[in-house]
Amino acid sequence: MFYRESGDFKKTYRDDSQTFPIKFDRRRYYVVMAIAFLVLPWFITDYIANAVMIPFLVWAIAALGLNILVGYCGQLSLGTGGFMAVGAYATYKLMTSFPGMDMFSVVLLSGFITAFVGMIFGLPSLRIKGFYLAVATLAAQFFLVWLLNKVPWFYNYSASGQITAPERSMFGIIITGPYASPVTGYLFCLILAIGLAWVARNLTRGRLGRSWMAIRDMDIAAEIIGVNPLMAKLSAFAVSSFFVGVAGSLFFSVYLGAAEVTEAFSINVSFAVLFMVIIGGLGSIFGSFVGAAFMVLMPVLLKNILVGGLGWPTDLAAHLEFIIVGALIVIFLIVEPHGLAQMARVLKEKLRLWPFPH
């Protein structure tokens, strides 16, 4: 209905392969960007920033990372929690060891460290496939959490075993620590999320992304066309872990402020991110964002309705939340196994064809 495509023709391959080839989509994207950067910072409350926007962005980055591995490269991973923990602890060690380092570098370095760890745990993917690999990645989850919990050096021998983010800033603006403004945190996460989404898009549309998808769709054919499976899978693990590490870093430093590894980065985190990816849509960058939004917003909404609205005991509400989340996931998978992104694609196709049905 909203699409007017006549006259929007492409004269170069560059135009033809741009991310939003349709003018309407392009404009919509600019509008969303403008709102996110220029409007929201003035209007959101600290509660919204802290409880909704920051977790949404952080989870979106994690979901992007996992989507690269699962959705694009077809390697099922349940170790996301463990890799996020690596990112978080790397951040902690960097922040405490190099107090002068700016937050941006800290976050990116944490990502690189996680990428390295991810690559090591990606090695078995050469021999192991499918669910065997999924289970194998659980090894990363349990081993990493155990390691970070058992070796006091990682949490600077603190008595509680917790890590706490000290105050760090960038360009004189406080980003972490108790005095950081949630809106600053939001903007910091936003810049990283947008930047990383752009990188993810670039990687997935080019040679590397195609080699991932080729491995996903038909690994034998991929190899025969010249794709080195080792390189493809390891690069997917590395890039994915980089994203997840950045997410872990932000999760700890900007969102939580303090964390304990067995609590904050348990197996449930791995599942939660996997849900985001599946509900959002495998192999879709947009889907990663939608999936994250869904998984962040739904519990907030449920809690507000059940506890705030109906006044039920919190434990009962928590149980009900489990039921609803579980049921929604099943319903989603039945209705649209390819996720919200696919729904959006179908809707878009319908709108482009409007008023015709086909």
Partner: protein, 656 residues
């Protein structure tokens, strides 16, 4: 009627030939796209400067190959930039381009080659080259075939067939030596020189070569462009055969005004390409508009009920106020608002989906267009107008000015055109576009064009009270019933063809008591209906014989009868019996022309038995016909065809 004044003959002083206009545009709009073609996934574009360079190298290459002034160059292929460039490249050298229909079979091509004495052939691809080589033994004057697409041409004898690029390379070599040569050559031609020879498909007999001069083409094209306010920023999609005069005129307008000509990727992708380009200036014969509308209706039938309701509601709004709005008449605020909403939810997307979203001006011509079809597009806000013209007139004889658009007329005389209605109703004209002669056919020339320059159109018509020309039918087709009343077959046929499930109709009545009809159903529309109603069918023949289909067609025919009642002159032409033909009328079988006009004489001849059965009251009739396949194989189909009586209405009944 007297001609209106022409104030400016050419786009600029001395710009009286294509080559001169080419150089002019290359100077004026060096970086503006002159031509685009969808190829290799994107719109490959050439600016005016680049086009000039392409043409320069090719034309010099042709010079190297020995082309002489006055030589004919046969051009055969689809709408591709190089085909268009070839025309101008030949003109630069004083040679005469002869574009021809790419789906013509070898014999047809042989006739054109022989008749035009073409020395050179520019062919699009292997398929066309093969056709030329097939008849080459019988056409010794053909010296060289130049092909555009080198695919599969590797093993061809290069003394007979060479690559376009090879010739261009030779041209480039010459260009390097004589850099001014091209400019000199370009300035040589004059307005009164022969510009092109267009072979008309002709509803009867052999094709005739219509010789047009630069003045014919360019003055006509330029005047029409001025009237309609075309600018260098317009876009047009050239998808109709390059050998057709309309296509040539639009290209001429592009040269006059500097706007861009777009070529589709292939015949199959025209609709998609149209949507991408979104032309601002558009031409289509009524048949295309009709097909488009049928397509819209079929697709909307599959839509969800809510959408369908929305569609029919807003189409109602459009029908009520759309045309008035288009013509700038004042309408109520509520209606205006409803139309705006409709424009957002229905008309806008619909036009966009059809590729008509940006159209400022659309022409239709060639046949009468159904009033309902015409109004449909105009109510959507598409400024579709009718013009009247023919190859011999370089298209424009009359055209509808903005604000004076009526479905049944073809408008006022174009600039410089004088009209005259002969006693027998035939329309004659005298204009700057009136053709030079029929090539090598003085007899026909004399028959058609009088010494004073009046040209017989062969159409019967009259000028109505508003000063608009109204065409009734082909002069020779307009017949008389036995009681002496007028019978205008095409008029009735067009009414029939408005129904989406009727593809083609042929009516009979001249020298008879009543009007009868042959019907061709539209396989797309009726097939869709069959699918939705679980009617199984294996072939066109089977579907055509289905009783329900007959019932459907019968209803339509009765509606036509009712509407004919409204017209005083035609009320006695109501159809009393009809049949649905067992096969589709097809150009490959000679029943239609290449431009899909009905060849009446041939049909009278081939289906004589059926016509007889219509009139002798038989319930059914056996028929056997040959059909030709694309690859040349021939087979026969036969069967009994049912004939059905239809209710006719009398004026008395109407009164009651």
């Amino acid at each position: 009627m007297a001609a209106s004044e022409i104030t400016q003959t050419y786009p600029g002083p001395g710009l009286d030939t294509f080559p001169k206009l080419l150089l002019h545009n290359a100077r004026m709009f060096p970086n503006k796209d002159a031509m685009r073609e969808k190829e290799f996934g994107i719109w490959q574009s050439w600016t005016w400067e680049q086009v000039a360079d392409e043409i320069e190298r090719f034309s010099l290459g042709l010079q190297v190959r020995g082309i002489q002034k006055g030589d004919k160059v046969l051009i055969i292929g689809a709408n591709r930039p190089r085909m268009y460039w070839t025309m101008v490249a030949a003109q630069v050298l004083g040679a005469i381009p002869v574009p021809t229909y790419k789906d013509s079979v070898a014999e047809e091509m042989q006739y054109v080659i022989e008749h035009s004495e073409a020395r050179f052939v520019i062919a699009e691809d292997q398929e066309q080259v093969d056709k030329v080589l097939e008849v080459k033994d019988r056409c010794p004057m053909v010296e060289l075939v130049i092909y555009d697409d080198p695919r599969g041409m590797k093993n061809y004898d290069t003394s007979v067939a060479v690559d376009f690029e090879v010739v261009q390379q030779q041209g480039a070599d010459l260009q390097a030596k004589q850099s001014d040569l091209f400019k000199q050559l370009c300035s040589q031609g004059k307005g009164e020189d022969v510009s092109i020879i267009l072979y008309t498909s002709g509803t009867t007999g052999k094709p005739k070569g219509v010789v047009l001069t630069y003045d014919n083409v360019l003055i006509t094209a330029y005047q029409a462009a001025l009237v309609d306010g075309l600018t260098e920023n317009d876009e047009i999609l050239c998808y109709l055969p390059i050998a057709w005069v309309g296509d040539h005129i639009f290209v001429a307008q592009s040269y006059c005004m500097g706007f861009c000509v777009n070529c589709p990727e292939s015949e199959e992708t025209v609709a998609a390409d149209m949507r991408e380009i979104g032309p601002t200036y558009y031409f289509a014969p009524p048949r295309v508009f009709e097909g488009l509308l049928t397509n819209v209706q079929i697709r909307m039938e599959d839509a969800a009920p809510i959408k369908r309701k929305m569609y029919s509601y807003f189409m109602g709004v459009a029908k009520r106020v759309g045309i008035d709005l288009l013509e700038g008449k004042s309408i109520g605020l509520i209606d205006r608002l409803m139309y705006a909403i409709g424009n957002f939810v229905i008309y806008g997307p619909l036009k966009d989906a059809l590729g008509l979203g940006r159209v400022r001006l659309a022409w239709t011509a060639g046949e009468a267009i159904g009033g309902e079809i015409f109004d449909f597009y105009r109510s959507l806000g598409i400024n579709i107008k009718q013009l009247y013209g023919q190859t011999e007139s370089s298209v424009f004889i009359t055209a509808q000015p903005d604000g004076e658009v009526y479905p049944e007329t073809v408008g006022r005389p174009s600039p410089g055109v004088e009209l005259h209605i002969a006693d027998d109703g035939e329309v004659l004209y005298r204009s700057p576009g009136a053709f030079h002669s029929y090539y090598k056919n003085p007899q026909s020339t004399a028959d058609t064009k009088t010494a004073e320059g009046w040209v017989h159109t062969g159409d019967a018509g009259f000028i109505n009270g508003q000063g608009h020309l109204r065409i009734i039918d082909r002069a020779k087709d307009v017949g008389k019933f036995n009681d002496g009343k007028m019978f205008a077959p095409k008029h009735i046929e067009n009414k029939l063809k408005f129904f989406p499930h009727i593809q083609e109709a042929v009516t009979f009545g001249d020298g008879k008591d009543h009007c009868m009809a042959f019907i061709n159903i539209d396989l797309g529309a009726v097939g869709n209906w069959a699918e939705r109603n679980n009617v199984a069918y294996a072939s066109y023949q089977e579907l055509a014989a289905n009783p329900n289909v007959y019932e459907m067609v019968k209803n339509s025919v009765e509606q036509v009868n009712q509407s004919l009642l409204g017209d005083e002159m035609l009320s006695h032409s109501q159809i009393s019996r009809f049949l649905i033909l067992h096969k589709e009328l097809d150009a490959d079988d000679g029943e239609l022309t290449r431009t899909k006009k009905v060849r009446r004489a041939l049909i009278n001849d081939r289906y004589g038995a059926l016509i007889e059965a219509l009139y002798n009251g038989a319930e059914q009739c056996f028929i056997e016909t040959e059909i030709a396949f694309e690859d040349g194989r021939v087979s026969t189909i036969s069967g009994d065809i049912k004939i059905v009586d239809v209710k006719t209405f009398s004026t008395a009944a109407k009164a009651s």
